[in-house]
Symmetry: C2
Subunit: 480 residues, 2 copies
């Protein structure tokens, strides 16, 4: 399919449109690299007005479109359409204001997550959501995916830190979604809608005061169960750490091989616990945390003496995904959620699954909020290995659902997990979501094929099929 790019050049200028096949390949996938599609055309707008015109043009042409920030997503949410337009926000990178008195910043969607914190740091503030990709991921992408990070246990997800969004709706209209208390909180529904309800063009984020003190502890346990019990005991004692991360033996082995993070040898699991806040509180609670870890059988606890030691502890954790590449030719990352109290049981079941199937699973997770990231290892050169890994991944998600959890904690559904949605939601639940999608996007052109399991026309959705209720047509308008 060849695209007539001139219509888009008229909107953003020739320099803002990419049609060269080699350059288009750059955009063929996001962080989930096993789904690939070369976009029909890439357009690089510089303003909300331009995005509005692009969307209106797509509507006229009946052409699907997908928005993309930095392309670091892990569920294929920014997978392009070969028959469509990829709208890349990389040229919208201005920090428009930093309002310290009201603790907020206004930024364009292409601004890099960490750059917001860098801009606020001189005033003693930062932007709290910290996905592992924070050095390159964009705020627009964070909004689309409702990104989390290691510290969302205490500070919450992107949704908790976004105060307003200017968006371009699928009909091309530019509207402002706020949390002003009046009218519906559509901001809540928009954040995390994975690019299916419109495109963010301006984001007002909350800035958080830098904590007075940060303390980080590494505790090594004989088994993952012992580590899981320590997590429950810490939370049960009323401590709300900034982060509690856990890695199992295989993940530790990988991290050690890759970045020499010097974790205690022989550990079945390590726990990273970080506390932040006023010094008096942190010191008091840190003693409790250390004691609890020891009581739960930690054979070594190590407290970071300074920022360099803290960075080394985190280096092992933050590089764990990439490090797994050292011990396995290929792997799938999952992103399930379970109630924290179900951790020991679910981990034992994952272990059993791994042994039965012969598929190795490395576990890295945000233990404090029960967000698991099992890395399912396989050799893509071995016939059938990818399928077996996929099967084990699916069974892990089933385990999460069975325990009242979710198929995604922070990576989104995207193209990757849409087929699991019916295992988690009833048909009525999915219809309700489709009703809202169709209200925003009746033409179904805004990031189609993501999130929902079956592509359906809006006319096929029960809530929408009704369209206008028969009574309205009968003229009983006085009822309303």
């Amino acid at each position: 399919m060849t695209m007539d790019a001139s219509r888009f050049e008229a909107i953003v200028g020739a320099g803002g449109v990419i049609t060269d096949p080699v350059r288009l390949r750059t955009y063929e996938c996001d962080g989930l690299t096993h789904h690939r599609a070369t976009p029909g055309v890439v357009v690089l707008p510089e303003s909300a007005q331009q995005i509005s015109e692009i969307v209106k043009e797509c509507l006229r042409l009946g052409m699907p479109y997908v928005a993309r920030g930095s392309g670091t997503g892990l569920s294929g949410g920014a997978l392009p359409r070969t028959d469509g337009v990829l709208i890349v926000t990389a040229r919208m990178r201005r920090i428009l204001s930093i309002d310290i008195e009201n603790q907020r910043a206004v930024v364009e969607p292409g601004v890099i997550n960490l750059d917001v914190s860098k801009a606020a740091r001189p005033y003693g503030y930062y932007f709290a959501p910290d996905p592992s990709s924070q050095q390159i991921c964009s705020i627009g992408g964070n909004v689309a995916e409702n990104s989390g990070g290691a510290h969302c246990l205490k500070y919450g997800f992107t949704s908790h830190h976004v105060l307003a969004c200017e968006i371009v709706c699928p009909d091309g209209e530019i509207v402002e979604l706020t949390r002003d208390g009046a009218g519906y909180d559509l901001l809540g529904a928009f954040v995390g809608s994975e690019g299916t309800l419109g495109i963010t063009t301006k984001v007002t984020v909350r800035l958080t005061r830098l904590p007075e003190t940060v303390q980080t502890l590494l505790a090594a346990f004989g088994s993952i169960e012992a580590g899981g019990e320590a997590v429950s005991a810490i939370i049960g004692a009323g401590v709300v750490p900034a982060a509690i991360e856990m890695m199992d033996a295989l993940a530790i082995e990988a991290a050690e091989a890759a970045v020499h993070c010097d974790y205690p040898p022989g550990a079945g699991a390590v726990l990273i616990v970080e506390l932040d806040g006023p010094s008096a509180e942190v010191e008091h609670q840190f003693k409790d945390v250390t004691r609890i870890c020891q009581e739960m059988g930690a054979f070594e606890t190590r407290i970071a003496a300074d920022d360099a030691e803290r960075a080394l502890i985190w280096k092992g954790r933050k590089s764990a995904f990439a490090a797994v590449g050292r011990i396995s030719p290929a792997y799938l990352v999952q992103d399930g959620v379970i109630p924290r109290t179900a951790l020991p049981g679910v981990l034992a079941r994952i272990d059993a699954l791994s042994r039965e199937s012969g598929v190795r699973v490395a576990n890295v997770f945000h233990a404090g909020d029960g967000n698991l990231h099992p890395l399912v290892l396989f050799d893509d050169a071995e016939p059938g290995a990818a399928e077996r890994a996929e099967e084990v991944s699916g069974k892990i998600l089933d385990l999460c659902i069975e325990h009242g959890g979710s198929i995604t904690g922070e990576h989104g559904v995207g193209v990757d997990k849409s087929r699991y949605m019916p295992r988690m939601f009833t048909e009525g639940d999915l219809d309700t979501m489709q009703m809202v999608r169709c209200a925003f996007d009746p033409a179904g052109l805004c990031n189609p094929g993501k999130v929902f399991p079956t592509p359906r026309l809006c006319g096929e959705v029960p809530g929408v099929r009704k369209g206008v209720h028969p009574l309205v047509e009968q003229g009983k308008a006085d009822l309303f």
Copy 2:
């Protein structure tokens, strides 16, 4: 209009249907008593299934319906329809589970706010949202209005404490809205939708650990401006109090006359600052707060020595609305929001408005988050006084909008403020909200006449008028 109640009796039994005109009068208004309408019929269901059947029956009859909890709302959100059904949840008062390990409770919508805290207290937990009416208001009503309270500065609104809702949609379907990370966060849009998107039948709430320590300070200032500057200085110092409340001289006078709360004589404003959390932190920060208040000109600071003194300090604040009845035959309560930093300027303008118009205004507010509750006093026996009070109220809301704020912080829009919505939102913003409303409720029977300024048929809303995009009709289904 006489209702045929037999259809509803078939669903809930004869004892669950009220048609007696005298008994119906009990339900003619909520906390906003100057809007009144006797409901056509009152139905008291006992389950989600019954509510589903009532809603389906209403849909068949083309009859509007309104849900009501305890009826303490202050914007007329539960104002009945004379031609419709009032669905009262008072018989759905079971606390279904308290799950301390996962820090959550599951309750029916008629459960009283404070009863959740009472049930959780033996385990060391409570339900954080604390509207002044918490001894009588219902959780279902809190969900509908996204209720706040004095402590929402630190702990957030109802929305932050609701993890899932079972709801009956306007088509009668029972669905579960969750924050599971997968699919749209429709829970965010539902909470605070003022009963226009469906009826809550079961709520999963987050339980919060009781703080180790609570400290409360009362500071008296010569003027409201000095008090406002103290608020900014406290927040600017990085302290996040559990609450900061302010009252002006007229509100103090009223409270003093009503409950003898013993506030310092001659104060132009009092500030109540409450800190909670670990003892070490609270003590450290409390010194800062006391010092800041003194630096900003507090002529008296008083620290509650025990729970009894704390209760007395709060008694003045919590009874302020009712107390105003002692110094004025009638009053209107407003609920505007402004950026905290705009407090001194806006208060000066309100003062000028009051002097120019001769209408007295008492100010009581959640100063920490800029949520004003001006009480506009008038004598309803005096011709034209109500209209003048209404006019001053409207001008106060205009001031809030002009300063980038909102017409409601926690009371909702309801029938009372729907006419101000176009001052705050563009037509495009309102259309987007209507699109969502119509997706849920195409027949327009679910609490019609609330929130939105102009009753419109769903067919008249631009986003909805499009219905299914022409391209779909042209059969270009392969695009999706």
